[in-house]
Symmetry: C2
Subunit: 555 residues, 2 copies
């Protein structure tokens, strides 16, 4: 198995899409998959039959993001195929077979997040995704459909939905399919069992009876019915038909060997310590306070600009800097300006653009929660961990806050400040806010914290209120922090990933937390098993005509 | 790494215990761990410092079971150590290092189930477990404490609780510790992070402040306080002080190469098809209908006898027959007699013994749900899938029911019959009944089924009501069933395990379902990673003085 180390860039634009055709007609957008066989992300495989790799999904993610911000008028999105008789064959098998374990896992995580963002748009943005399956949808192709709110399957006697991963490749459907079948669509587990063990899949009336799709549509009426359904979903949307979108202009980013610089974020790598230091810069000026002013600021409005930069940095480091195991979070700036930005978001939560910005902050923080990196936040003098930024303290596996000042520094002691954004709009994937997760044992404490919104909380208060883990003074700070980072770097990254995944999601479970916590863990396990990826494993041998050897022992 | 294939017997008795001392004084039992260094289950390691292997846990499981059935008067159980200054060092590391992947996973599953049965006793049997940590509790030692309802730690300036698996061995605490910390005891995730990365653990006031233990007790008053707490918990119990227990007499079991025979259960192996056929025999006579008569029948009361046989067969096949990937369930007998047994259980649910029997049936079915084997149930003429036995139809990954009769057979067509036991007393680990899980999409359907209790449901009705997956007639039956079994045997067992784990637990999550679904999956993954089990992995090299090589790449 060849292990490829890729350098992957996530920046793209509809004008550059190779694999998708985006068409917007009034309230309805159509995203047609038309994968270019000869344009894989890395050499070594052909993207036949609308099969996809990370490159295809990066474009899909970009399209989903732009539809939200650039097209307020779009209230329904139809995902379909531009190819005849095939909808999508799922993740490209040769790509999987030649990828490293880490790349497979990262690929699945990113594609999962994109599908979650599709569901987030349907649920929270008034932009409902429908799937028009106009040919066979296999594996990841059907999983993409499962992420949509309504699934239409062409009734042509041959087009089917299938999850053939287990019988053909000895792996699981890697993009949430199993969980969405039984938890989202509430397909009976025995029916799901039959589907997942039948490589050719199911079609026709049984697919409807078993709730695998929502309706069958004859080919002759397919386009008309798709249009009809999309129009009906669009009619229920609260998105404004007459608003103007904002352009998601290209990010200004400088990538150097050990530094990544954006406008509001600098990430500095320490390769010896296996650490990336994220320095978040607070707003430099008073953020706009009205929807019109926010709209005018567009992509330069600080919360949106920061979310985009964080999003890009997180996926960049995940994919391209695997040996950097710890992400350290710092901030610098003026609490009052961060607070003002939060106030604008809280006060105008009903405005379509403000809603999108807050949802994007939410999703970005959720990306952090499921990143397989240790998160350590350092609260130092000069920082501005207020409201939205305070979430980076709460999201951390542990946090340190300096008690007092640096010797010989004029900076006043660090403080924390709560804002309304800490109490609802930015929940984790399992529905709890990070404060609720922090105080699972004492829900009433969260109410008491609500009364402290806007107050300056120094280190002693922050510790007493349970907002930070440790509060060393300047005598102990450097040794204590360095020791923690060195120690972290010495641990097995695999065990850290398993531990952090287990500790971060106390409390209830949702579709998303199940997909990342349960399904992904099983998939990771299977992605290492000889039956799948060994020299004679099913994934390795697929398409060669050779039969894989199965070790029948159950574990 | 040596791969040991063991033949493990789960039958034991307090008179034969090597590792535990069981003492009963009135309402309080004490289970003192006193592991014999020189008595490991297989050669190759010494059980120093009260470290344990599966043999130690088989005795613990036996003790927990017997306390419930043989000692109705016991209302509180104290787990402690009989060794000075050490409570329990956790799972033996040398044992783990020399075990196969499958054995490690099986070992963790069984120890997890034993700890769950401890919690089940505290919650449902009025037999509350307390942990008296009278020395250091490391790893699995502390996890055993976490399974108890109240944890006392001796305050002697040195005894600590710790989970050193990650820093020392590059694996996770494998027996639910992470989940119990944050979900059961609701320890803050950042505090849990500190504990799990501090190999020496925590003690003293911080252990209490962080809720790692419930109280610190000076050594001078330790025994007295333990007694006091146990007495207080016992006082709240509803277990009868004056009832007589029933003896769990040795199981009558014949083990042959391809057959396992009990009184009410025969398991026949087909090694070519990688299949075990479980044939459950219904009651031969009318089961007793009063508590007194049930008490008099004791271990021969059909539901209890069957539960014990199933329990033994399941753990036997899991541990000793790993290459048998599919378990096929059949039954034979009289519906009316099964129904009568269920009626007795339902009518006398408040009786301490009936409660224990029903709880045991529940736990046995839950063991089935988390077994990494495909479950296929065949409902044929002559079967008696009523009530409790109908759960074996619902628990299956899929089921087949013969529509009509066998050609040239006098047996009437198969039927199914619902009983009150299908509607609450035998829930899955995530709190739903199997019927609720089956009809997650239509909760009102479960109410309609409740009205059908006691009715004979033929194949067509059972299918229409959604109780079975397929209803072939006798012309198709043999081909269809054989094809399904052959197909199952051809699939990767690893992918099947991941798929079944994902499909079986739709709906809510609990501590137990999180432990089996999320934590175990991560642990399985880590148990394969070179950082833990490779030639230079931490688990392999532990105790050799050599330093393990860590591949720092995050996955």
């Amino acid at each position: 198995m060849a292990v490829k180390e890729l350098y992957i860039d996530f920046a793209t634009h509809p004008d550059c899409y190779k694999h998708w055709k985006l068409r917007i007609q009034g309230r309805i957008a159509t995203l047609a998959m038309d994968v270019r066989e000869d344009a894989p992300l890395v050499p070594g495989y052909e993207l036949k039959l609308n099969s996809y790799d990370l490159g295809v999904d990066i474009e899909l993610y970009d399209a989903v993001q732009r539809l939200r911000f650039e097209h307020p008028e779009v209230a329904a999105v139809v995902i379909t195929s531009a190819k005849p008789r095939v909808f999508c064959a799922g993740a490209n098998i040769r790509m999987l077979a030649q990828s490293s374990h880490a790349h497979k896992v990262n690929f699945c995580k990113f594609t999962n997040e994109t599908r979650n963002s599709i569901e987030d748009a349907s649920t929270h943005s008034g932009q409902t995704y429908l799937c028009a399956i106009n040919g066979t949808a296999s594996g990841g192709g059907y999983e993409l459909a499962l992420a949509c709110a309504h699934i239409m399957l062409v009734d042509d006697g041959s087009s089917a939905v299938s999850l053939p991963e287990l019988p053909l490749l000895a792996v699981l459907p890697g993009t949430g399919g199993l969980t969405r079948l039984v938890d989202k669509r509430r397909v009976r587990h025995d029916h799901a069992d039959v589907l997942c063990t039948t490589s050719e899949g199911l079609r026709g009336q049984r697919a409807v009876d078993w709730k695998l799709v929502d309706e069958l549509v004859p080919r002759s009426r397919f386009d008309a019915v798709v249009q009809e359904r999309a129009t009906a979903f669009a009619a229920r949307s609260d998105r404004p038909g007459n608003a103007t979108g904002i352009a998601l202009s290209p990010l200004l980013r400088t990538v150097e060997a050990d530094q990544l610089r954006y406008t509001h974020l600098t990430v500095t790598l320490d390769r010896d310590l296996a650490t990336a230091s994220f320095l978040i810069q607070g707003p430099r000026d008073m953020p706009p306070q009205t929807p019109a002013a926010i709209q005018a600021a567009g992509a330069s409005f600080w919360p949106l600009a920061l979310a985009r930069e964080l999003d890009d940095a997180i996926v960049h480091l995940r994919l391209n800097e695997g040996a950097i195991g710890t992400w350290v979070w710092r901030s610098a700036g003026d609490h009052a300006l961060v607070e003002a930005a939060d106030t604008a978001l809280a006060q105008h939560a009903d405005n379509w653009l403000v809603r999108e910005i807050t949802l994007f902050l939410k999703r970005t923080l959720q990306r952090l929660d499921v990143s397989s990196r240790s998160l350590i936040t350092l609260v130092e003098p000069g920082s501005c961990f207020t409201g939205t930024l305070l979430e980076f303290v709460l999201a951390a596996d542990r946090s340190y806050m300096l008690d007092g000042t640096w010797a010989e520094s004029p900076l006043p002691p660090a403080i924390l400040r709560l804002s309304p954004l800490n109490f609802g709009p930015l929940p984790m994937a399992h529905t709890l806010t990070r404060l609720q997760r922090q105080f699972l044992a004492a829900p009433e404490h969260v109410k008491r914290l609500h009364e402290r919104i806007g107050h300056d909380l120094n280190a002693a208060e922050a510790e007493a209120l349970g907002l930070v883990t440790f509060i060393p003074d300047d005598i102990d700070w450097h040794d204590e922090v360095r020791l923690a980072l060195e120690e972290r770097a010495s641990f097995s990254p695999d065990a850290l990933t398993g531990m952090e995944s287990s500790l971060r999601f106390a409390g209830p479970e949702t579709l998303e937390s199940k997909i990342f916590g349960r399904l992904s863990a099983w998939q990771n396990w299977i992605f290492q098993r000889p039956n799948a990826v060994g020299a004679e494993g099913a994934l390795t041998l697929y398409g060669t005509g050779k039969k894989s050897l199965v070790d029948k022992r159950r574990v």
